[in-house]
Amino acid sequence: MITKQSRSIWTEAWGAIKKNARATIAFYVLCFMVVFVVIGPVFSSFAYDFTDWSYLAMPPNFENGHILGTDSLGRDVYVRTLYGGRISLMVGIVSTFVSLFIGVSYGVFSGYMGGKIDGFMMRFIDVMYALPFMFFVILLMVFFGRNIFLIFIAIGAVNWLDMARIVRGQTLALKQKEFVEAAEALGVGALAIMRRHIVPNLLGVVVIYITLTIPQVILVESFLSFLGLGVQEPLTSWGMLVKEGAEDMQSTPWLLIVPAIFLATTLFCFNFLGDGLRDALDPRDRQ
């Protein structure tokens, strides 16, 4: 007889990802990307807001140290892209976790309570969906000024709606499971059931959703920055850099190409990883 090894969901998921070449590569590229945007600037002697008056709008050049060129204000593209990456990744991850926290709590509560409470909470979500997102963000920006934390809040506050809906659906299914019924028969309290029995079993869906939300959020931030509603100069993000690069793409194409490559690679990798995880953790495929 073959005995099954003791495995946690993570080792199982990792095992499944390893079988999927695309997802494995995506995972390593993402790890590299995170490390790179954190320590990469060390290898350059320029600061992200330093203006090098002697080299304005220089194409990539190894001799003067601006290996990926400079922008029209003489700032180093390599360093700025990495700093932009920090912001973009941070926005992606922080906003996703904000939406995760709100969405999971809201969704689990609504789904588990059911009945009128569920109906009311879901109608509230419908109302929120009806608010135009852009209008909401512009309103925030106008009232509170441009601020990086506002972006986190704005994106997180909109994204949790999806999360809550997905989690509620899963909760409704889990609620029917016999182990939840067993806990109810035992007199375990509602909060303990949610915490002990529902949330841990949502992990699979949530993990998939995280990897698919992060790129979405990065994209939204880029879009906001592209419209001029994003981060404040001299700070930057990939979206801002792409926007600025696009303005002069005929004369200084490297200003567009470099951040665009970083942005696209990251988005691709998150999506590949998400797809891989979905295949790995989808309960329908597992027995």
């Binding site: 073959i2 090894q5 067993a182 028969a185 002990r196 841990p200």
Partner: protein
């Protein structure tokens, strides 16, 4: 010889090494023969048959060769199995609902098959004929219905028709009656028995239940862990099994025709006393109108301290609803329910606190009644966390270990997860969880139905020992009458929410009084070919009516062989000998 398989192995590469689903088997099938392949889960019975119709998953590796009518089905290098599927070899599966497409009517459904295999013929005619052959009443109108409009038995008939209309040489039936109620199972078995004589098709009947195939098979093959361990005529297999595994299998089957020798009669202290309780639900019909669904109707029962009360009935008869009310998970809408002397109603929350501790439940599927993300220690600790939150960690663990010990598992189980255990071990863990708080009542909702036959006996014996040890009462819900006979002290038979007969176990099984009980017991297959082949089944026709808006009078009257005009309007509870029977003609017909 219509089918011959030589040296067939089916293997899978898994993370834990190479798995032999089928391990070097030889098998042959004669024309017009009915071959039964018997084995427990994981014995390779289904895998070996899937290989000959070319439906194994892609990652399966096949070794060996198979011939159909001396034509090659597959060997090491070629696989032609697909060319024979459908027109020469047909297969039906366990659950007829999942085998039928819910969006297609029966005619469209079967038409698809014909479109592929017989594109030029009159489909309507063939389908009608096929449906008539499997004895579907009013077949012409059934053709335009959707699968959900048919009952489980009818759906399985449709599946059989869909295979047989192409007149294949071999019909493979994979547990075709396992998902069905026992009376419907008897109907399907009778149908297969009839078809056997009428058509030129050989039948391979895959099952885990030796009783089912006793009456219909010409030859029986017993499989264990991918190997064939014994093969022979049914008489030889059932009466003189040679291989130890077959012997064990035969010995472990509870029989409905054997007396229960260890039952008790008197239970002076009452744990639960239900007096005429009903449970009604309102189902929304339109915007303002409701239908009333009567899940449980006027049930009176008593559960004594230490008693095992069996509740028997087909699916939808209200067994589980009754169980939930006894655990105060729901409350009766009418009648009086007393638990430990207190009346159960929504206002009595202190009783609910008591029942959460004193009434424990064991569910049908042990794997799904444990949280897959919790380890065994946490699963077993949860009752203690909930009811004695002040207990320190060390004493919780001590109690968990002693509970594991009682159900025959050791402390190495503590940090493992439910999926690492077999079904039988899982059910032991669930029983251990139910015992953590030393309950007075344990409600067992089909506790062994999802377990393999050889494990059932051990789990049942465990339940019986525990009952003795802590003198708990057991409410034993099951659709499997043979198990009930061997375990319970008293039995009630339910039909559409009503108790139709209530008696002590041997009285009920030896001389059933209510026509429904009679039919139910007669429908249970007995694992003995001599008996089973002779029995002229008195089949109960039809299916139970919907529990919504029931007609007055006896609800069983429509299916009853003894009905008269009075039955439609009246129903009374009579005592015949020591049984309580809900039938106005009870005295006349017995």
């Amino acid at each position: 010889m219509i089918l011959s398989i030589k040296g067939l192995s089916v293997t899978y590469q898994s993370d834990d090494g190479l798995i032999f689903a089928v391990d070097d088997i030889d098998l042959s099938l004669q024309e017009k023969e009915t071959l039964a392949i018997v084995g427990e889960s994981g014995s390779g019975k289904t895998q070996s048959m899937l290989s000959i119709i070319g439906l194994l998953p892609e990652n399966a590796q096949i070794k060996g060769e198979a011939f159909f009518n001396n034509k090659l089905l597959f060997n090491q290098s070629n696989n032609h199995a697909e060319e024979f599927r459908g027109n020469e070899i047909g297969m039906i599966f366990q659950d007829p609902m999942t085998s039928l497409n819910p969006y297609l009517t029966i005619e469209e459904q079967l038409g698809l098959v014909l479109k592929k295999h017989l594109p030029d013929e009159d489909h309507g005619k063939i389908i009608l004929e096929a449906l008539n052959n499997v004895k579907i009443p009013d077949a012409a109108s059934k053709m335009n219905q959707y699968p959900h409009e048919l009952s489980g038995g009818m759906r399985q008939r449709v599946m059989i028709a869909s295979v047989l209309m192409l007149k294949p040489k071999i019909l493979i039936a994979d547990e075709p009656t396992t998902a069905l109620d026992v009376t419907v199972q008897a109907q399907i078995l009778a149908l297969i028995k009839d078809l056997k004589d009428q058509i030129d098709t050989s039948i391979i009947f895959i099952t885990h239940d030796l009783g089912v195939v006793a009456g219909i098979s010409d030859r029986v093959v017993v499989m264990e862990k991918g190997k064939i361990v014994e093969e022979g005529a049914p008489e030889a297999i059932y009466h003189a099994p040679k291989h130890p595994y077959t012997q064990k299998l035969i010995a472990s089957i509870p029989r409905v025709d054997e007396k229960n020798l260890h039952h008790q009669d008197a239970f002076p202290n009452k744990s639960i006393d239900a007096d005429n309780i009903s449970m009604e639900y309102r189902i929304k019909k339109g915007w303002w109108s409701f239908d009333t669904l009567k899940a449980v109707r006027n049930v009176s029962c008593e559960l004594g301290q230490g008693e095992i009360l069996g509740v028997v009935g087909e699916s939808g008869c209200g067994k589980s609803t009754l169980a939930k009310s006894l655990a105060t998970m729901i409350y009766p809408t009418k009648g009086k329910l007393k638990i430990f002397g207190q009346e159960a109603n929504i206002g009595n929350q202190s009783l609910k606190k008591i029942t959460q501790k004193e009434v424990q439940m064991i569910f049908q599927d042990p794997v799904s009644s444990m949280n897959p993300r919790m380890n065994i220690e946490s699963i077993l600790s949860e009752p203690l966390w909930t009811h004695s939150p002040n207990l320190d960690k060390a004493s919780v663990r001590e109690k968990v270990i002693s509970a594991l010990d009682r159900v025959g598992l050791d402390s190495s189980a503590l940090f493992r997860y439910p999926h690492e255990f077999s079904g039988g071990q899982c059910q032991r863990i669930v029983i251990a969880r139910a015992l953590m708080l030393k309950p007075k009542v344990i409600i067992c909702d089909e506790p062994v139905s999802s377990l393999d036959v050889s494990i059932r006996k051990q789990v049942l014996e465990l339940l019986l020992t525990i009952r003795k040890e802590i003198n708990a009462s057991l409410l034993f819900i099951s659709h499997d009458l043979s198990v009930v006979r061997q375990v319970c002290d008293n039995v009630m038979v339910m039909y559409l929410g009503q108790v139709v007969e209530q008696a002590n176990v041997n009285e009920l099984f030896d001389s059933p009084k209510h026509p429904y009980t009679k039919a139910l017991i007669a429908a249970v297959p007995i694992p003995d070919p001599n008996i089973q082949k002779q029995i002229e089944l008195k089949l109960m026709e039809g299916d139970p009516p919907s529990p919504i808006n029931l007609p007055s009078g006896c609800s069983f009257a429509d299916r009853c062989a003894f009905k008269n005009d009075q039955c439609k309007s009246e129903q009374i509870l009579t005592r015949v000998d020591s049984s309580l029977v809900a039938c106005i003609r009870a005295r006349e017909i017995n």
